[in-house]
Amino acid sequence: MKGFYLLLAGVAVVGGGVLWYGSRATPAAAPSGPLPVAATDGFRGYALGSDSAPVEITEYSDFECPFCASFATVQMPVIREQLIATGKARWRYRDFPLPTHAYSRYAALAAQCGGEQGKFWQMHDQLFSNHQWAQTGKNPRGLFRDFARTIGLDLDKYDACMDGQRYAGRIQASVQEGEARGVKGTPSFFVNGRPYEGRSASDDFKALVDSLTKKHK
């Protein structure tokens, strides 16, 4: 009997050690299966603002990128108020999940699945406003599902969308589009189709849009 308890203790120590070691190792993989690639459906990204706005700003962004989160939470509210709500500019969001980020593609998928139910921007705001998930390196699946619940998504539909990785091809197409346009990092902007090299600040965007609007008139 003593031998049996020794064996039991050995298994417990080895198994516990493996779990402890695993919990300390750096996480690397996103919670996703094989990605269906690039079957683009002609989708050009979610847009905010009037179709008749004279200026269109396209943003290539990554939900896990801290600069993108800072831009979305600090600059974007002002841009929405001063440029989008006033009809001066239309804002288009394009996914550009960087390969160095473990969960950015998964986050992009969550936003697209929110968009499927008409709540892309609400999910976008949740992902950027509660950006702690990007710093922990932990599997954010449960947290994203909480975001989905918070913004009132139908969770069955959300789960089906996420499980099936329904918009993985759309995200990949967006990445390929960004690469073709020379996007190297995030956030990157294009104003009326031209690369924007200025500061990522609401004042600078306002000045540029105002100057373009004057020319337009």
Binding site: M1, F4, L7, L8, V11, A12, G15, G16, V18, L19, G22, S23, A25, T26, P27, A28, A29, P31, S32, G33, A102, T136, G137, K138, N139, P140, R141, G142, D156, D159, A160, M162, D163
Partner: protein, 142 residues
């Protein structure tokens, strides 16, 4: 006695596997070591939760209970206690039934196999068989 020892050992290994999957589920582990299987696909599917709790947590609780019960059943005072055999058989049967359901989900709904889930399924199946054998022995010694 050897059957109960085997049940205890299996329950301990099952507990470690369930804990591993649960730690992944709650974000403590960043990735699952799965080889060529589809562990993350299975573990991030909607079927990896039941009544708002991770399925792996049910496994942790189930295996921990089996382990505790099995260890109690090894004590000389309870070694021939039929109540322990009954409880072990009831718990193992519930676990086996739950595993059949989960395996069916993997095979027929998700079309993906998680190797750790298969390992757990083998363990609970062996535990179930051993617990039934233990129950039969207990009845025979009446």
């Amino acid at each position: 006695m050897i059957r109960r020892q085997a049940i205890v050992l299996l329950a301990l290994v099952g507990l470690l596997i369930a804990t591993y999957l649960w730690l992944y589920k709650i974000g403590v582990l960043g990735e699952l070591k799965c080889g060529t299987g589809s562990c993350e696909y299975v573990q991030t599917s909607r079927y990896a939760e039941l009544l708002g709790l991770p399925v792996a947590l049910y496994g942790v609780v189930g295996y921990a209970t089996l382990l505790g019960l099995g260890l109690a059943g090894l004590q000389p005072r309870l070694a021939s206690d039929r109540r322990v055999s009954r409880l072990l058989a009831a718990l193992a049967t519930a676990g086996f039934g739950f595993t059949v359901y989960l395996t069916a989900i993997e095979l027929f709904v998700l079309h993906a196999i998680c190797r750790w889930c298969v390992a757990s399924a083998v363990i609970i199946t062996a535990t179930w068989v051993l617990s039934l054998a233990d129950l039969r022995r207990a009845r025979a010694t009446l």
